[in-house]
Symmetry: C2
Subunit: 450 residues, 2 copies
């Protein structure tokens, strides 16, 4: 039976594996979180809310229709953390695995990770990769947890309490869960720049993508660093990450200068802007009530959430590389070039087309979702746009409308979290079906565009 | 001097010619519409409003910051009509001219229109084409004017009055001007389905693109009709036009069923939906106050205006062919195909990439405009989104905020009308500069997308 499963797995397309993993994880999560032992006494628990919470947890989005603090028992919270880890890390592992499969053809170093011998990639490779990712993420979580735990000694009376809160904050940040178990997100730490700084670093570790982490680890452990070669993917996504962080921070500062930040000292404004900007990658934590931002800022944040995190990370959205390739290609195209040259490499034409397709499909899906929600919900347009962007980017920031959504509204947001997490390409190939080889051609004819 | 001009014109890129024509026309229009004789006595006329009116007229958008009825004298209205004709037809002519230049390489029939001998296309070809287009449009306007004029005998007491109103209504519809000289658009004819029907046909004539008109003319005049070959462009844009009309009508009917249409008889709802749907292509006339529609409907209409009309027409937006190629490619791509097969032809890969780029650039421009306007204007988000889509699509429908825009707001809307009218590709190549031949290559490397 195990062999049958293995041979079946080898026949599945990457998109099918990711989608299957995701749906399986949601089913398990729904069952786990519906166990009576997971709830506080007297909690009213229904199927749609259970499903919503599970989808939100597996996609590590963090949008919630029920108050996590009021609903889940201590056991429930631990089950939730368990789901978050496997939601975040699992999809990340499957995604990375298939990227490395592609890498086989172009000879990347990292493929050794998943290969049992030189010409075969298989299930044991995937298991091996999953172990590697789990190990790395758990190490990051423990280091983050200890750092925060020791620091929290000034907040809590006992070291046990400080350590537990530190560890939870670390896991919540690293998996980009955004689940709000204190009921206040990071608002109590709005003036504690150390906690914010560590949280930003942990969020980034989770959202920047596993290939970046593993390449950086190799770089740091390699004695001959000059010979180390970072992949183009790592360079592009890291640069994009940095640019988006700076852009978001600047935009928030400029747009809120005479509004939310009016009368604040510079470092207060700066850290509000920096943290909220970093959070839009996929973190979903906040040091303030984002509803206090102006419509302009909320639209910019929606755009940033729509872009989302790196591929093969715990985040969603169209992904940083997609956005970067879009911008790079638009720039090159307007200068009459057909390719992108960056970091002394050329981008594969196929990847350019993919990035354009992903962006347009994502825009269409989000636009359609907004139209449906304006019909079914009684909330304002900006609240709906923000919620849609947050769900698609699996960010989890909200203007507070999630728990008031209608059943149709909940379904729309669930579908968005699902699509955002598995990625537009996986989603497209899931609904598109198998490739058919074109064995005939028609004459080509030009049409007028734009 | 004429020869110098001719040789310079031949060196300009299509984008430069279209942009130059547009800017020249706006300058002339600003001067013409600022002549004292064009205004009613005591009118307060300032530069920004003059510029806005000119940009709106040359791009045949029809968004107005001043009441046309209260501002312009009879002479002024005639000058305005003159500007509309040259704005609408001029950009259409230049666009068609350069499309036919491309056609030279693939042997389209229509290129004979602009060729003085078999291997040369030049200024006299452009002039010849402009004459052909002017002639065809004026014939359409006169037929439409006479039809409406005779019909208007039942509305007006004298035949002169009826004929003048008919002619004006016909010109206004055919050029897709959307300029509102009665102060009421077509609301007085909200129950006159004949007027609406004729108007829809005239709007479509202007917005469906000159190549379609000329090919249809050839088809009708050709005795051997079976041998006639419609271009792929004509087939795609006509089909898209029909689909968008039906889609828009259905969406309005569904979304307003329990709202604006509640309690109406079916033909009343149907004609409201049909007319407003047709108007979003670029017409900009309306038989009702569109502000009465729900947010959902307004978003759908915004999407339809964003798509806009055919290339080489009097309309704007990303254009019907762009939208069609987007959808077709997304569908084919998700099934693993790299090309689009339609009407027994294959779409050129270059055109697919163009269509994707146009859509993304347009989305970025409109999104940025909305963010800026939420900052500078105090109107609601849906009013701003609708205004931006209307300006970019050069449609001219509005929820009534145009005249209340701040100076920055007016500038943003003017830029949108300009970009929408000259088209994203012309705009891109205008700011992008000259093509540089790539004489070196880097190794290609894959990156992870979406
Ligand atoms: K999240
Ligand atoms: K118009």
């Amino acid at each position: 039976m195990w062999l049958t499963f293995r041979s079946k797995l080898n026949k599945l397309t990457p998109a099918q594996v990711i989608v299957t993993y995701y749906l399986l994880a949601v089913t398990v999560a729904t069952i786990l979180l519906s166990l009576p032992v997971a709830h506080k006494p007297g909690v009213d628990w229904n199927f749609i809310d259970a499903l919503f919470t599970s989808v939100s947890a597996v996609s590590v989005t963090g949008l919630t229709v029920v108050s996590t603090a009021d609903t889940f028992s201590t056991t429930g919270v631990f089950l939730l953390i368990f789901v978050l880890q496997f939601g975040g890390i699992g999809v990340m592992a499957v995604g990375t695995f298939f990227w490395l499969l592609v890498g086989k053809k172009i000879g990347l170093k990292e493929r050794q990770l998943i290969m049992t011998d030189q010409n075969q990639t298989n299930l044991s490779g995937l298991v091996n990769l999953l172990k590697q990712i789990l190990l790395l993420i758990i190490i990051i979580e423990i280091i983050g947890g200890l750092t925060l735990g020791v620091y929290f000694l000034s907040y809590y009376s006992t070291w046990q309490e400080a350590l537990i809160h530190g560890l939870f904050a670390s896991v919540s940040a690293t998996t980009n869960a955004g689940f709000d178990i204190t009921g206040q997100s990071l608002i109590p730490f709005k003036h504690d720049y150390f906690v914010q700084f560590i949280t930003i670093i942990l969020i980034t570790m989770g959202a920047i993508g596993f290939p970046v982490l593993i390449e950086t680890k190799d770089f740091l452990m390699n004695s001959k660093r000059s010979k180390h070669h970072f992949s183009l993917f790592t360079k592009i996504t890291t640069l994009t990450f940095a640019c988006l962080l700076v852009f978001g921070t600047l935009m928030i500062i400029i747009l809120e200068y005479n509004h939310f930040f009016s009368g604040m000292v510079w470092h207060e404004s700066f850290f509000y802007a920096l943290f909220q900007s970093a959070s839009t990658r996929s973190g979903g934590l906040s040091t303030m009530n984002v509803a206090e931002f102006s419509t302009s800022t909320l639209l910019v944040l929606s755009g940033l959430m729509f872009i989302g995190a790196s591929p093969s990370s715990v985040g969603g959205g169209i992904r940083t590389t997609t956005f970067a390739l879009n911008l790079l290609f638009l720039f090159h195209f307007s200068r009459g070039n057909q390719t992108i040259k960056i970091f002394r490499r050329e981008i594969h034409e196929q990847d350019i087309i993919k990035s354009l397709v992903v962006t347009i499909v994502a825009t269409l899906i989000c636009f359609t979702s907004v139209v449906i929600l304006t019909l079914t919900e009684s909330h304002s347009l900006i609240e709906i746009i923000f919620e849609v962007a947050s769900a698609f980017g699996t960010t989890g920031l909200s203007l507070g409308i999630t728990s008031e959504l209608s059943t149709i509204g909940k379904c729309v947001i669930m579908i968005l979290m699902f699509i955002g997490r598995v990625g537009i390409l996986s989603f497209l190939f899931m609904i598109g079906g198998k490739e058919k080889a074109a064995n005939y051609h028609y004459p080509k004819e030009r049409v007028i565009i734009g």
